[in-house]
């Protein structure tokens, strides 16, 4: 037997495979397909202070090896989440991580506070990076000053582990990673979706009602691996890697570059049991490679020496 258990800022996970926020509902939706007790952690859909209706439809569109989404963070609001969704999740022996966001720093803080006090929430994931909100908002994830402010403000009220989820729509992911750490994040997770657009050429309109959306799926995996690798080089806190993971092989790329855990997003839609398949594939890989403990795979990347001639 190999050890798959990892520790993320004080939380022990049975295995390093989580669900990615927004792709697994509130857990219940997939409980028919997946024994939720088998997961490393359940990360639920982004929660805000008040319920949100999100964007008009169409909200998704398929692109080469990927998809655009502009759900617009529809959610039941923190109150209903705690009273209606959390009790179901508490039945399981699996850490629940709650992704949350706000339209203002005050809303971020108030939501964080409510979740911090909720029984059955193991950690909070601060979402500064959803690209689907009206202009200005997305600056939380791409503007260093705004991002620092929101992390510091939230950190002040959160005693549970705080994970900051980073946007890939930035020039320098290393800098955003370091800033998150310096502002008090216990872990970072990346990548969120990359802003994209597709056009209906007959109608000459964006295919999504929101005009733009976030790109996810295998198409973005090489970008995600690169960013997770960059982040792992500069922070001491754990990094949770995601972006385009379909198989255990994909997940292993993230572990090798340094991710302490991974999250499965779009793959759940294609294969409702994708998380379980990744976990068992990971186990087989470790056995075949003669690795006793997943922790001794993490961060073992050997770089090629740069031998550029001129």
């Amino acid at each position: 037997m190999v050890n798959l258990s990892v520790n993320i800022c004080g939380i022990t996970l049975k295995n390093p495979v989580m669900t990615a926020s927004g792709t697994f509902g509130y857990g219940e939706e997939y409980s028919e397909f997946v024994d939720l007790n088998k997961l490393g952690a359940i990360v639920v859909k982004g929660i805000s202070l008040k319920p949100k209706e999100g964007n008009p439809t169409p909200r998704i569109y398929e692109t080469p090896c990927g998809m655009l989404n502009a759900i617009g963070l529809q959610n039941v609001g923190v109150e209903e989440f705690i009273s209606k969704k959390l009790p179901f999740l508490r039945q399981y022996d699996t850490p629940v991580i709650v992704n949350f966001f706000g339209d203002s720093i005050e809303e971020f803080v108030e939501t964080a506070n409510a979740l911090n006090n909720a029984d059955g929430v193991s950690a909070l994931e601060l979402n500064v990076s959803c690209p689907n909100k009206a202009a200005g908002w997305s600056n939380f994830g791409t503007d260093e000053v705004l991002m620092s402010k929101v992390i510091i403000a939230v950190r002040r009220v959160v005693t549970k582990p705080l994970i900051v989820k980073l946007s890939p729509n930035v020039s320098d992911i290393k800098r955003m990673s370091v800033i998150s750490q310096e502002c008090g994040a216990d872990a970072i997770s990346l990548i969120n979706t990359i802003t994209g657009m597709s056009i209906d050429i007959k109608k000459r309109r964006p295919v999504l009602a929101n005009n733009t959306g976030g790109l996810s799926g295998p198409a973005i995996k090489p970008i995600a691996v690169r960013m997770v690798w960059e982040a792992c080089q500069v922070v001491r806190i754990p990094v949770i890697g995601m972006g385009g993971i379909m198989t255990a092989q994909d997940a292993i790329e993230f572990f090798i570059v340094g991710a302490r855990a991974v999250a499965i997003g779009t793959a759940n839609f294609v294969n409702p049991r994708a998380t379980l398949d990744v976990i068992s594939g990971l186990e087989s890989f470790l056995i075949n490679e003669g690795i006793q403990d997943i922790n001794s795979l993490i961060g073992t990347l050997k770089l090629h020496e740069r031998t550029t001639c001129n």
């Binding site: 859909k45 569109y61 990927g66």
Partner: protein, 248 residues
Amino acid sequence: MDRYFKAEIKGNYKVNPTTAVISFSPKEGVQLPQPGQFYMIQVSKGIDPLLKRPLSIFSIKDQCIHLLYKIVGRGTECLSKLPLGETIELIGPLGIPYPTPNGEFIAIAGGTGVASIHGLIERFSQKAYLFYGARSVEELIMTDSIKNLSYQSFFSTDDGSYGIKGTVIDALDRVDNLTMDVYACGPHLMLSAVINWARQRGLRCYVSLEEYMACGVGACLSCVVRTNDGLKSVCKDGPVFNSEDIVW
């Protein structure tokens, strides 16, 4: 109950140049589908196209489930090329079926909406007054077998190439004493007109809706529709809704 399963393709034939029927055996022990429900079906063996596509129950016959699909884009194109014997993944049956008709009913199909309506009249055959409309005769499928399934059937085409020239509403207006419950599936504009028509007559009306879908199980929130009770997922709370609940 195991609604994520693999099945072998038992048939995949065109019924006209742009429409095909794909068939597979339901998995043993799995809940049998009800008319109005649908499957998310894998369309390629690789990762492009990536997402499964939603297709309604067209028919349950000869121990097989049959889905009728129109080839409209990359996904359905790929689907039409999958050979017999190939194994594909499916999720389903999904969604809320049509409520069981109490007695005779009006079934209205527009375009490929006939897939879902066919599933209904096949099950409740001889109670259906079918109204089936399309742009032209080329887009109407299997009119003979559909005629046999229903108690009475009325066809309409925009160009008059088959049945009445006009819409299903024109066809409905020509028939007297239609006071049964209405079941409809078709394009948005047609459904709006049907809902209107039924409302004017005080008839109960069930409609099956379509939205772009990713998960099919209520998790991704891509397929929402506004109802009197807030936003609902077409995949999980639908696709069949009571027309009075929908806010369009």
